[in-house]
């Protein structure tokens, strides 16, 4: 199932933290790390992120599979960067020259990407999607955008199930995907039907909202109170990022 949230259920400290605290921490962490360059600092970031991942106690095979997928883009860059970056030659095969600068750049991107992604899996993956959406609302994202996100999150599973049944239906009628117009037309029809059904569903949802007094303003229940440990955790991660920034400044002079 493509839409499973394999990491969202669990009993670790990270699972128990308030999604708002985790979301703030994830944003601070991502933005800071994106601006860091020093390899040693980035390595330190990866280690911190690894600690978070361990603390989250996630299903290991699933996690490794996910990390593999994440690094596809990075692998794509490794195909090109080591020889297309100018600099001091490390090895030469025929016309291809691997440069020290190219390798270091590749390594830098890899470390930076994984430091950010690992932390985000540990922080955001350990909340249910609906809770992350709630957290965004708490961060004063514009109302319409939050509503769009809400409906998207709410109906994505139903629509995915619809697609699953439609995909089964074409399979049951002896459909075999090939590189043909028939195949593309069939998929286009499925997409079209998903959109038509989504369109009509949205109309009914809107009516259901109007029937319960909706006037364009989203009113919601209070969140649970932030606890000390939530604030402490967000502060701890923010503190860590500050330390990394300080290290970076020190190393680069």
């Amino acid at each position: 199932m493509a839409l499973a949230e394999p990491f969202s259920t669990g009993n670790s400290l990270l699972h128990r933290l308030d999604p708002r605290a985790k979301l703030v921490a994830a944003i601070v962490w991502s933005v800071t790390l994106a601006a860091l360059n020093d390899l040693r600092v980035l390595l330190l970031g990866v280690i911190c992120a690894a600690v978070l991942l361990v603390a989250a106690r996630l299903n290991l095979p699933r996690l490794l599979q996910r990390l593999l997928v994440v690094n596809i883009f990075i692998a794509f860059l490794w195909l090109f960067l080591p020889w297309s970056t100018g600099g001091e030659a490390v090895a030469t095969w025929g016309p291809i020259t691997i440069t020290r600068e190219g390798l270091l750049l590749s390594l830098q991107l890899t470390l930076r990407c994984n430091a950010i992604v690992w932390a985000c899996i540990a922080l955001l993956g350990t909340s249910r999607l609906v809770d992350v959406a709630q957290a965004l609302r708490a961060l004063r994202v514009p109302q319409k955008l939050v509503l769009i996100l809400f409906f998207c999150v709410r109906y994505i599973q139903s629509i995915h199930d619809e697609y699953g049944r439609m995909a089964a239906a074409i399979k049951l009628r002896a459909f075999k995907p090939r590189t043909t117009f028939h195949t593309y037309r069939t998929y286009a029809n499925l997409v079209g039907l998903l959109l038509v059904r989504g369109h009509d569903r949205a109309d009914r949802v809107h009516e259901a909202m109007v029937c319960r007094g909706f006037d364009g303003r989203l009113r919601t229940l209070d969140h649970r109170r932030l606890q000390k440990r939530d604030i402490a955790a967000a502060a701890l991660l923010t503190g860590l990022t500050i330390i990394l920034v300080v290290f970076e400044c020190l190393t680069t002079g």
Binding site: I74, L79, S84, P142, I159, Y184, A188, G192, L194
Partner: protein, 210 residues
């Protein structure tokens, strides 16, 4: 293809975020309160549709559908793409929080352009409608590839030249397939639910709710 975390330079990340914020602001203003559920559910449908893998020769690709999204949603494509990418980030770690701005802009700007160029032609029967919807789907993907490549080049022109070129080449088959699928899909919608075609002017749809 969405650019992963940690690859782009801070100025490019900031630039992408600014474009996306502007697009979001204008896009959200174009959505009236009654249409909010529609944009939400449509972005869910487009998200699911973008998980579909279609065969191309011996390989397969997954659909982007940004052109289709633009043609059907107009300016609302910005919030729709943003929400879909945010979910991809949280669910699959495709892209990331810091690249959300750049990735939204590279997908939504071409989609919007295709809407402005071809949107009004889609209601036409016959060849014109088919060509417009094919171009809408294909051009949106092509430009998304160009903008993605540009984001890489702006970050580090020297190092990323070959990677950006490879990315562009990889988009060519995707572009053709997307054009074909977009054309068939628009044809389906024109038959089954003509109401979903882009409106001729800026006429708001009548909503029969008190």
């Amino acid at each position: 293809m969405h650019i992963a975390e940690g690859v782009l330079s801070p100025p490019v990340l900031i630039g992408g975020a600014v474009i996306t914020l502007a697009g979001l602001a204008y896009g959200l203003r174009s959505i009236n309160a009654d249409n909010v559920p529609r944009v939400g559910v449509m972005s869910a449908a487009l998200f699911v549709a973008s998980l579909i893998h279609v065969p191309v020769g011996v390989s397969s690709i997954h659909l982007l559908l940004n052109g289709l999204a633009g043609l059907l949603l107009g300016w609302a494509v910005f919030p729709a793409v943003f929400v879909a990418l945010l979910l991809q980030t949280i669910l699959f770690q495709f892209g990331g929080l810091t690249t959300l701005g750049v990735n939204t802009a590279t997908m939504a700007l071409p989609a919007l352009l295709c809407y402005l160029l071809f949107g009004r032609l889609l209601r036409r029967q016959g060849a014109l409608g088919v060509v417009a919807s094919f171009l809408g789907g294909a051009l949106a993907v092509a430009l998304a590839g160009v903008l993605t490549a540009a984001a890489l080049l702006l970050s580090n022109a020297e190092a990323f030249t070959t990677a950006a070129a490879a990315l562009l080449v990889a988009h060519i088959p995707v572009m053709l397939v997307e054009g074909v699928i977009c054309a068939f899909c628009i044809a389906f919608l024109r038959t089954v639910k003509p109401r979903m075609m882009p409106k001729p002017r800026n006429t708001r749809e009548r909503v029969d709710v008190g």
